[in-house]
Symmetry: C2
Subunit: 389 residues, 2 copies
């Protein structure tokens, strides 16, 4: 069930070890499910219990540690040898007496790493405070350091194989976005539109299917468009409602996100003005993208463009995306925002989503793009406009 060749996984591991060496790290604990997948292929909905990879600089393979009943998923989905898959007993699960990190600490000790420099992803969702407290207690002679996003930064430049999966995801999101726009009408329940969106996201195309996206479809409508992360309700759309659709296609855990805004009926002049400003701004930003440009330069092009129309936006306008698991499809590395001097390179992929939210309404029009050799390539194929139903 490996998605990539074993040599691609090993190449990723080599880069990880190089980064560890530069930072003086002997052991890296990888908890982020996307990073676990990136290095080994591991893919299962088991991140709701503690699991991680132990990457030891001096050992050839990472060690997978997880719950007993998930060891067979590791055997099926990874390139790891059987002896590199070490399950913990079920009485460690959500126990007040035993913690899985006690088990992990024992392995680190057995491998002779208890007095080394150990990095963990301190700010990753699934590396809890309790993990940190237990590990530092059980391994008092180790030096613990922050390894947040170490692997994420390696993920930022994609291989051609990864780009292929992201393009498949873009095909799915193109079809899904048109399906959602088609289904939204006055009198239709929000949940029924989202049901059709999910159906298209998961069934995908005749050639390839879709996976679950790391964020569910977000479709705020009416005054709720000012609150961008609300999910759907049982309510019916009403004439005059603006509706934001933010969703993604996903194929083999690789994402291509996309947002569009529509109005049921006649948009207000304010909405039209907002949409024109957003589209102009996106185009201005896309125009400056090429290898060598920095992330903050892309944001600046957007900001200068919308300022001409008298608009301001305070949050970042985009982020690196690709392989991921809930709750986020962002990679937590480069952001398109002031102060981010990351230099764009070919095969980086970003979701540029410069929403503008006013007090009682808002607009989101976005594109996911790949940096090419001399510019950028927009991945989905959905008209860039304010849709009117």
């Amino acid at each position: 069930m490996l998605i990539f060749s074993v040599s691609e996984y090993k190449n990723r591991l080599t880069k990880t070890k190089e980064s560890m060496e530069k930072q003086g790290i002997d052991v890296l604990l990888v908890t982020d499910p996307a990073n676990m997948n990136y290095l080994t292929g591991f893919d299962a909905w088991s991140f709701y219990v503690h699991q991680l990879l132990i990457v030891i600089a001096d050992e050839e393979e990472p060690i997978w540690v997880g719950r007993g009943i998930d060891a067979s998923a590791a055997e099926i989905t990874t390139w790891l040898k059987q002896e590199s898959i070490i399950p913990y007993p079920d009485n460690y699960v959500q126990s007040t007496e035993r913690h899985p990190m006690d088990f992990v600490a024992n392995i680190i000790e057995e491998k002779g790493q208890a007095n080394k420099t150990i990095a963990a992803e301190y700010d990753a969702y699934y590396f809890t405070a309790k993990n940190y407290i237990q590990l530092t207690k059980k391994l008092p002679n180790a030096k613990f350091v922050d390894g947040t996003s170490l692997v994420n930064w390696i993920r930022i430049v994609k291989s051609d194989g990864e780009i292929d999966l992201i393009k498949k995801a873009a095909t799915i999101v193109t079809q899904t976005m048109y399906k959602g726009i088609e289904k939204i009408n006055a009198g239709v329940r929000e949940c029924d539109v989202v049901a059709d969106i999910f159906h298209k996201q998961i069934s995908g195309t005749d050639e390839f299917g879709g996976d679950y996206t790391s964020i569910v479809p977000l479709l705020p409508s009416g005054e709720k468009t000012s609150a961008c992360h609300l999910t759907w309700t049982d309510e019916k759309y009403k004439e005059g409602d603006p509706v934001i659709l933010e969703l993604a296609g996903c194929h083999k855990r690789y994402h291509s996100p996309l947002a569009r805004t529509l109005v049921i009926g006649q948009p207000t002049p304010e909405m039209e003005e907002l949409a024109d400003a957003a589209i102009e701004g996106i185009e201005a930003a896309l125009d400056v993208i090429k290898p060598g440009t920095t992330c903050e330069q892309v944001e600046l092009a957007w900001r200068k463009s919308i300022e001409k129309r008298g608009f301001e936006k305070e949050s970042r306008i985009g982020y690196s995306t690709g392989l991921n698991y809930p709750p986020d499809w962002g990679e937590h590395t480069a952001s398109l925002r002031p102060g981010d001097t990351t230099i764009l390179q070919p095969n980086m992929v970003f979701h540029m989503i410069p929403g503008i939210w006013m007090d009682t309404y808002g607009i989101e029009i976005s594109e996911t793009f790949r940096v090419t050799e001399n510019g950028c390539e927009v991945l989905a194929d959905v008209e860039r406009k304010l849709f009117i139903k």
Copy 2:
């Protein structure tokens, strides 16, 4: 948009403060999205950035702290006063220079709580090691203690209003399970079956719609039934495949999970024997449930029943469920397993899921039940058998 009356939320807050007082806690930081929802109504897909409630024993209302663009979701979905909603600026998001917990520490300081006993949910998914490290650094005079599952334990006994939502979720899962079983056939792609399952989960019924479930549908087939948390692929079902369906209905974030197993074609005698053992075991366990029984007694009834057939199962056979967000619909409190002496009370709800996995095949047949005044009530209405297609 409040789901329950303000007095129900305040009653939950009172119970939380009583539990805080018993444990000598002055300030509780609530990061678990289900606990945030439980106390305030807050409901948005914003848990991918740092957010929390600060519950101060001496203050009437909790304080919501989250990202600026999510403050309007807090205004729309909670009963909190505007001044209790404190957003942090966007340059705190995934920054290497600023951390949202610095912002939280300032609020705690301003509220005169910097030298008090502060509890946080140390082992909750979204309370990272970095949160802990920043808070303890910024508030050196506070005493930090573990508040994991403090609110979860209050959630374990449901109100009648909550039971009503869980029953609606059970109606959805009943219809969804039959839809999934109907669609699975040799030659059909797994992703197409899951697309129909999602559609039913989200569209719900004519009377009420469905929400996203905290775990996606899990449908391992063939030899993959030995790996219970694998998700679907683009592959086609084959004649002879066993297929496990583990899914839930969800209504306004309240879940009712359910699992069934089917075989495409003729089951092997081993599968039939396994199914008979599982069904007998579930029935034996359901028979002993009533207020006053302990969780471990329920597991013991199951274990004794399957032992008669020569089977053993090492993992827990169930857990408390209800309100939740990804990645888990379990509440992380009581488990049906040896050593858990939690006493069953009316309006507790459990998902009893005693899967048995052999080396190359497995079976899952489950029920979600409510403890009643004198026994239990099974919530979904799906035949308890090995389905044969």
